[in-house]
C-alpha cells in the first residue's frame, strides 16, 4: 500500500470533517496522521473482525483531542460506517471530540491528558500475565508530557521492563499557548526518557514514512524493555499555510482557507 497517499487521503477527510462540523484540532491531527497511517495500515495486528480477539494489538490515543484522524482511519478500515462520521460533534453522536469506547475499535476513553501511558502499562502487563504476543502502542502529544502521571507510568513501564509497550511522542513542539519550550520546556526529552530506563528512538522527520516505519520496526525488535519513539513532526503537516503555526491548534478554516488547504493537500500529493 502507498502509505503516503493514504495519509494524504486521511488528511483531506479530516479537513472536511473539521470544516463541516466547525470544530476539531487540525494542527495535531495533521502532525500525527503519518504515524497513525503507518500503525493502522502496516503494523497493528487488529481489524474490524478482531475487536474482541484477545491477541489483537492495543492502541491508545493519549492525545485524545486529535481524534478526528483516528475516526477517519477507523472508518476507512471498516471498523465504523463511513456515513456515521457525518454526525461528528453533533447532538447525541458517539463521535465526540475525544476517543470513547462506544466507538468500535477504540479501546479506552481518553481526552484528559496524561492517562494513556499508564493504560498502556496495564494492557502490556495483562499481555505478559496471559502470555500473549500482542503489543501495546500509545501515542502521546508532547504538551501532555508535562503531566506528572506520564512519568509515573514511565517509571512503572521501565520497572517491569515492558518490551511489549511502545510509546510514540508526536513531538511537534507546539501546544495551545505557544511552543512547548516556552510553556514548559522538555529540554533533553530523549535524555529524560533514557534516564527513566527507556530505549529511545528519535525520528528526525516524524512525518517521513520511511523513518516512521524504521522506528516502529526497531522498537518492535527491542527486547530489554519499553521503547519510546520521539517523532519530530510538523504541526499542521501537509498544508504549508498552517504548518508550525500555534494558532492552528484548534482553529477551524474559513471557506477561503478550506479551499486553499484542499489545493495544498492535492499539490503535496502530486509532488510525492
Amino acid at each position: 500500500m502507498d502509505l503516503k497517499a493514504k495519509a494524504t487521503q486521511i488528511r483531506a477527510q479530516v479537513l472536511n470533517m473539521i470544516y463541516t462540523a466547525g470544530t476539531g484540532h487540525i494542527g495535531g491531527d495533521f502532525s500525527e496522521t503519518d504515524i497513525l497511517v503507518a500503525l493502522y495500515y502496516k503494523y497493528l495486528n487488529c481489524g474490524p473482525k478482531m475487536v474482541e480477539n484477545p491477541e489483537r494489538d492495543r492502541f491508545v490515543l493519549s492525545k485524545g483531542h486529535c481524534v478526528e484522524a483516528l475516526y477517519c482511519i477507523l472508518a476507512d478500515k471498516g471498523f465504523i460506517p463511513q456515513e456515521e462520521l457525518a454526525t461528528y460533534s453533533q447532538f447525541g453522536s458517539k463521535y465526540i471530540g475525544h476517543p470513547n469506547n462506544k466507538v468500535n475499535g477504540i479501546e479506552m476513553n481518553s481526552g484528559s491528558l496524561g492517562h494513556g501511558l499508564a493504560l498502556g502499562v496495564g494492557m502490556a502487563l495483562a499481555g505478559r500475565m496471559d502470555k500473549r504476543s500482542y503489543k501495546t502502542y500509545v501515542l502521546m502529544g508532547d504538551g501532555e508530557l508535562a503531566e506528572g502521571s506520564v512519568w509515573e507510568a514511565a517509571m512503572a513501564a521501565a520497572h517491569y521492563k515492558l518490551n511489549n509497550l511502545i510509546a510514540i511522542v508526536d513531538r511537534n513542539g507546539l501546544q495551545i499557548s505557544g511552543t512547548t519550550e516556552q510553556v514548559m520546556a522538555h529540554g533533553d526529552l530523549a535524555g529524560r526518557f533514557s534516564a527513566f530506563g527507556w530505549n529511545v528512538i528519535e525520528l528526525e522527520d516524524g512525518n517521513d514514512m520511511g523513518q516512521i516505519c524504521a522506528g516502529i520496526e526497531a522498537a518492535q525488535a527491542y527486547e530489554a524493555g519499553p521503547t519510546v519513539i520521539i517523532a519530530h513532526t510538523t504541526k499542521g503537516k501537509g498544508c504549508p499555510s498552517i504548518e508550525n503555526n500555534v494558532a492552528w491548534h484548534h482553529k477551524v478554516p474559513t471557506d477561503t482557507q478550506y479551499e486553499a488547504m484542499q489545493i495544498e493537500l492535492k499539490a503535496g500529493e502530486q509532488h510525492e
Binding site: R58, M108, L119, H159
Partner: protein
Amino acid sequence: MSEANKQVICQVLMEKAATDKDIVVLCSDSRGSGSMTDFANAFPEQFVEVGIAEQNLVTISAGLASCGKKTVAVSPASFLSTRSMEQVKVDVAYSHTNVKLLGISGGVSYGALGMTHHSNNDIAVISSIPGMRVYIPSDRLQSRKLFEALMEDQEPAYIRVGRNAVADVYEEGNVPFTMDKATVLQEGSDVAIIACGEMVKAAQEAGRQLAEQGISAEVIDMYCLKPLDREAIQRVAAKCKAVVTIEEHVLIGGLGSMVCQTLCATHPLPVKCLTLPDTPVVTGKSQQVFDYYGLNADGIVVAAKELLGAE
C-alpha cells in the same frame, strides 16, 4: 473482633484467586497496611506493585481490566479517593472498567496523622461520579459477604474499610445480606437510626439503650451508599416519627445528606445527622475522635430523644 475488615477481604481474594487467574491485586506501597502481603506472597503473578503513585495505581488497574482482568486497587482511602479522583472518573467510571477500588484505613482510622490522612469526604467524592458505586461495610462478616458479591460482578466500585478490627455487628452463620439492600438490625416504630461502616455498631448499641427506655428504634445498616437503598429509607419513614443518621464522614454529600434528599421527596420528617465537622478533624485515636464529636451510642440516644421530644 478477631480480624479487620481488610484482612477478611484479603482472604476472600485469595480464595477466589486460587481458581481465577484473572484476579489481580494492585498496591501503591500499601500491601502491608492493606493486609495484602499474604496475597502478594501467594499469588506473585497476580499482584502488581506500582510504588507510591496512586494515579498510576488506578489507571494501570483500568488498563489491566480492559484486557479482562478483575482488578482490585488497594490504597489508603484518603489518597485513593482524592489524589486519584480524575483517574477514577475517566479510566474507571467513564471507560467502565472492572476495577474495585479498596480504600483502606478510611475515615479517621489514621486519626492522629492529621487531615492529609483522613478520608472524611470520600463518599461525597466518589458517589458524585456517574457510574461509580460506593460501599462501606460494618464488620468483618459483612465485609466477606460484600466482597464475595462484588468479585462476581463486572462493574466498578469503591469500597471503604477502616484500619483496625471492629466489634462484630453480626454473628457467625447469621449474616443477612442482599446486595444493594440495606440490612435491618432491629425493627422499630418511633425512630429510625441509619448508619454505615464503623458507626453501625454504635447504632446497634443505641437501639438497645433506647429500647430499655421504652423507645422503639429501627436500626439500619446502610452499607450501600450508592446505589442507596431508598426503599428501606422510605419504608421506615412511613412508620417512624424521626430519623437519626450517623457516619464517619462530613455532612456534605454523605449518608445523612442522601437520607434527607430521599425523605424530602416523599416523607418529610425531622432528621438529625451525626457527622464529622466541616473543619479539619481533631486528632487522636479514632474512638477518641468519635467520642469528641458525639459519634457514638450516647450521641445517637440524645439525638433520638431530642427529635422525639422525650425526656
